[in-house]
Symmetry: C2
Subunit: 342 residues, 2 copies
Amino acid sequence: MTERTKGASIKDVAEYAGVSPKTVSRVHNGERWVREEVREKVLAAIKALNYRPNAAARSLSGSRSYLLGLVLDNPSSHYAGDVQLGALKRARLRGCHLVVEPVDIKAVNWTTELTASITALRLDGVLLTPPLCDNAEVLKVLDDLDIPYVRISPDRDPERSPYVHIDERAAAHEMTTYLLDRGHTDIGFIRGQATHSSARLRFEGFRDALAERGLAPREDWIVDGNFQFPSGQDAARTLLSGEGRPTAIFAANDAMAFGAIVAASKQGLSVPGDLSVVGFDDAPAAQIYSPGLTTIRQPVIEMGAMAVDLLLTPPGDEAASGGHCLAHGLVERDSVAVLANP
Amino acid sequence: MTERTKGASIKDVAEYAGVSPKTVSRVHNGERWVREEVREKVLAAIKALNYRPNAAARSLSGSRSYLLGLVLDNPSSHYAGDVQLGALKRARLRGCHLVVEPVDIKAVNWTTELTASITALRLDGVLLTPPLCDNAEVLKVLDDLDIPYVRISPDRDPERSPYVHIDERAAAHEMTTYLLDRGHTDIGFIRGQATHSSARLRFEGFRDALAERGLAPREDWIVDGNFQFPSGQDAARTLLSGEGRPTAIFAANDAMAFGAIVAASKQGLSVPGDLSVVGFDDAPAAQIYSPGLTTIRQPVIEMGAMAVDLLLTPPGDEAASGGHCLAHGLVERDSVAVLANP
DNA sequence: AAAAACACTGACATCGTTGTCAGGTTACCA
DNA sequence: TGGTAACCTGACAACGATGTCAGTGTTTTT
């Protein structure tokens, strides 16, 4: 094997520019008190030698590692992928790299492994996605390590760390109003499991929107699901088998909405002809389903990006603390029929 | 802010165990020639102090960084997520961490950025996924850096680096035979774009399987698509509008298969009642589609894992060179009708 | 005009680990 | 018994950056 090509070191650059290594360090770290003339000379040398500071050396010497951790429990989901994408882009802009740390809650030693990774790498901070961001053990590990973290859509403990989220209640409210405006007043709702605050907030938005029009949800048209496809099928079967039937179903997420569509089709009901269905999340399948699913889009990529920004904000800066709400969007596709003009 | 808790250093462990730091290093690196008694004493000390070697220091001192790069151009796809998951798990087993490097081919400076990341972090090796693994510029950057890399399902240059793949031709052959065995002889095929060798191989497997039964594909039932959903719709419209129509459609990937199903439904054809449709890839939507899509599953997670293994095999080891083929699977769902008993 | 503050630069130690090498045992063979 | 190998260990110098501090000019203040 040939010797791995080594890049230029800070010494080479210093020599080339005729200054000390320390001055080179000052220049590319943007420290004050470097003469403009010297700065330019050094920058030219850096460019000429194509110098890249060694991250390991910086980490060892300084107090930062320029490494951020993304802790995931389900790395192959589309949601996680989008968070990662946003985080990745922003991290690069900010001169950091992203190390992905998978956590398998079902494994025996996962806390040890997480601790090991964080301490070995001296991560500067950690990003947490749901549902991990509400896992007490994870938070305890991070608190014990005294490492900064930012949560994405956490369920509870708003004071515990900075976080980003969307206004789920408002989004569900908007979706419900959208249905009402199109003449739907008989709306069934498929809930998520009560342990997720999302499930609660989305239902509350639905209920409140109805209430604003002087309506109340029919009790037997509120069915529990668990955010999974099959539970959507089951729930829809229940909704469609009772006395009378709703003209629209609002599922608390897309997977259950797909289940509802399939269940309706199997009963010979066409969507949206006989039944309108809406979801929440804008899953990738939503645009290739038949019919295309009207749903709520979360700005997941931006959430990942903002989480990195918060993480890199100097501690103590008030601007980064607390919750940061990003705008959602209602994505109109083909799964809703218009019963009356808005 | 409180001072970040620092873990024990190798000196602490050495002192605790009553040996030199170098011996501690020897123990946890599994070097030879450490007395059993000493080894145990050191291991006990490591455990007692909960010692984790500092990755930055190791990287700086030794020749390895214990960091692998995963270069992705579309980090939020399910495929990329699964590769990552497999790579992540295996990397952890092998004591490495994974740094994700997004590459946006459309950006101006992407080669510079990639080079910068690799040299700054002194990555031990890099994983490449399609279609990036066939990008000449990426390969040139890596070759110039003289950094080991492993490709996943590359299109060409089999000698250029180790790689993992599945036998796409055999898989398509198997799927075609599956259709033939169920009485389908009038089969339409939706191809991918010719620039992907996957498209070619999958088509060849299809053609060969027909040929083995003494059949030849009908020319106007071979339609070109581009692996995207809409092209599947268009292709199916073409296939279903000519004189006579196939009893089955084999799409070169799932996205186009979904398009075909939707197009068929719009023409009043039920799947699989009036038309069978199969795909390739086992996209997440395949199991929540109506009907569930019969398709080929690639062992993507295992491929990511094996890629890491290959990357960590010492260079020069013959076992790691060349291509490594993993087994695919035919996932039987509900999109194929039986016209005759197999 | 002296003192003080500011602006700029480099020497040197340091971060935590591993590579190199020299040295000390013990075991084996002639 | 002496010599050579194999086995085991630690001192010391890297690795490539940054933090600290001292030192030298230059300006501003007193």
